[in-house]
């Protein structure tokens, strides 16, 4: 039993002993090859986005961003994420509580089903709502009678976004809450806390970084989703276009600079997501180390 907590930064590198070292030349070559691969596949595409975006100067860049259709696309993207992320957050917490804190039959089936949207093609994810709510769909005629438009309208976009981001929070929380067990919550209840108090004061603080991690990933996907949204959107400019769809339209009109300008907003979002993700991973690791 150590009397002092472990140092928080555990080096990720296994400082290999002499026997476990490759010759310097091999090490150097492998590193160079790996970095070259990452450079060509990750760094260059990202750089291209920004150089193309600024290819016609800052003025054109700014104009592409504040153009009304671009602004409306941004608004719709934010709206869809603002609805999808909280819903999936609530779902993720509920699912994680049920799965991690209780035993019941069919649990692993449930977990597989929750993961399902990740393995469905984005195009199919959009299509299933068209088949359900579209004019030719099961509920289409009824919806039309009552003058409700879901497909090729904002609700369809929100639905498709919810579907593709469905598992993110649950997936992050379930293993985390399972690893933490139920002893701390039981201790809280023995000490007189209600279930709600145990959740807010004990469970939630213990998983907060993991929760945030799931939310960040969920949000990134929600704002960047293309395929599923494309199927249900109808591509009506200024009405049912999200940022990625707007990028597509501009690009297909050979308005490359504007397309990349708008795309650069998404690329920046991706960079912020990556930074937040790295910080949170470090935090989660620290929390896990503290526990042992």
């Amino acid at each position: 039993m150590s009397s002092i907590a472990l140092p928080s930064s555990i080096s990720r590198t296994r400082t290999a002993s002499r026997t476990n070292r490759e010759p310097a030349l091999v090490r150097w070559l492998l590193t160079a090859l790996a970095l070259a691969f990452l450079f060509g596949f990750l760094f260059l595409p990202l750089t291209v986005v920004f150089t193309q975006a600024l290819g016609k100067g800052w003025a054109a860049y700014g104009a592409a961003l504040i153009e009304p259709n671009a602004l409306s696309a941004m608004w719709l993207t934010v709206l869809a994420a603002a609805i999808a992320v909280p819903l999936n957050l609530v779902f993720g917490i509920a699912a994680a509580w049920a799965i991690a804190k209780f035993e019941f039959p069919g649990k692993s089936l449930l977990m597989t089903l929750i993961d399902l949207p990740f393995s469905v093609s984005p195009v199919v994810s959009g299509l299933i709502y068209v088949l359900l709510f579209g004019l030719q769909g099961w509920l289409g005629p009824w919806l039309q009678e009552h003058d409700i438009k879901l497909i090729f309208a904002v609700p369809g976009i929100v639905l498709a976004t919810i579907f593709v981001t469905f598992p993110f929070v649950a997936r992050e929380l379930v293993p985390l809450m399972q690893a933490q067990g139920t002893e701390e919550e039981e201790a809280a209840i023995v000490l007189g806390a209600s279930g709600w108090q145990a959740f807010w004061r004990v469970t939630l603080p213990n998983v907060k970084w993991g929760l945030l991690y799931g939310v960040i990933l969920c949000n990134a996907r929600a704002m960047g989703e293309f395929g599923a949204v494309s199927v249900v959107s109808g591509h009506i400019r200024g009405m049912t276009n999200t940022i990625p769809l707007h990028v597509e339209i501009l690009y297909n009109e050979y308005n490359s600079a504007a397309a990349f300008a708008v795309a650069s907003v998404l690329a920046l979002l991706a960079l912020v997501t990556l930074a937040a993700k790295s910080i949170l991973e470090w935090r989660i690791k620290q929390q896990t180390v503290d526990r042992s």
Partner: protein, 279 residues
């Protein structure tokens, strides 16, 4: 009070089981299960013969060939380079390693449409990389090669992120033992390290493959989308949809769903195997 006792007997003192599970199942059914079942039911209206005709039409078969072929190629490239990247990140020190490590997840974070137009620009005959290959007579963008490229990009993090933790936990004593028994580095890698990493490597491979099979956004910009040549199955679904061929789109979608479920089961099996190996 009797109810309390019954609850306690079943689920212990923590409350909220029924409500959270109830909500989970309802939400799961409404968002995922009902729409998916409706799709499968819809395809049934086509009849078996109709279904079979749609999913085996020559243009569809060509799209399968491209989709699965390119996904497989991308996953293979990622298995090799993903392992290499994971190895270098875990075992070696170099300047900016933390940054590179964080950067590996870019394909998860970057919207696919952005990746698509960036790759198309980069690898077109006038692009930074494309112009290197043009004199050699190799066209990358707007050919099946472009599809492989896009699918490699979006699958890149999977192998790295599944192999990395296993490599971090790897007991270096095992390597030292192998060395003390007379094995050289390459033999140690082949006979000791690789077998340990294999389940994770396969899992990463399968995840990259599964993701690539369904991918749409990044591919359509760089593929050229020529029927029979560079048209992927998800695009064909959209084409059918735009021609109001709902039955055909549904049939294709269901055939893809079946493949997805098969892959999901395979991946679950692989992950279980991987965990068994780790324990």
């Amino acid at each position: 009070m009797g109810a309390l006792l019954a609850m306690l007997k079943k689920h212990g003192v923590l409350p909220g089981f029924s409500i959270t599970l109830g909500f989970t199942l309802t939400y799961l059914s409404l968002i995922v299960l009902v729409p998916l079942s409706a799709t499968v039911l819809k395809s049934a209206t086509l009849g078996w013969d109709g279904f079979w005709t749609v999913i085996t039409a020559p243009r569809v078969l060509a799209s399968y060939k491209l989709t699965f072929g390119a996904a497989l190629a991308g996953a293979c490239i990622n298995a090799v380079f993903g392992l290499l990247v994971a190895w270098v990140l875990v075992r070696y020190d170099f300047f900016g390693k933390k940054l590179v490590d964080a950067f590996v997840d870019l394909p998860f974070a970057l919207p696919t449409a952005v990746a698509g137009i960036a790759l198309a620009t980069l690898y077109s005959s006038k692009g930074w990389i494309g112009q290197i290959f043009t004199p050699l007579g190799i066209k990358i963008a707007y050919t099946p090669l472009g599809v492989i490229l896009a699918l490699t990009f979006i699958g890149l993090p999977f192998v790295v992120r599944t192999v990395q933790p296993i490599l971090e936990d790897f007991e270096t004593e095992l390597e030292e033992a192998a060395a003390s028994l007379g094995a050289n580095r390459w033999q140690t890698f082949q006979k000791v390290i690789l077998p340990t990493l294999l389940p994770a490597l396969l899992t990463g491979f399968a995840l990259a493959f599964a993701r690539a099979v369904g991918e749409y956004g990044s591919v359509i910009f760089v593929a050229g989308n020529i029927p029979m040549v560079s048209e992927i199955t998800p695009l064909l679904i959209i084409t059918k949809l735009e021609q109001y061929d709902y039955a055909g789109a549904t049939a294709l979608a269901v055939s893809m769903l079946i493949v997805s479920f098969g892959l999901l089961l395979a991946i679950n099996g692989l992950q279980r195997w991987s965990q068994l190996r780790r324990a």
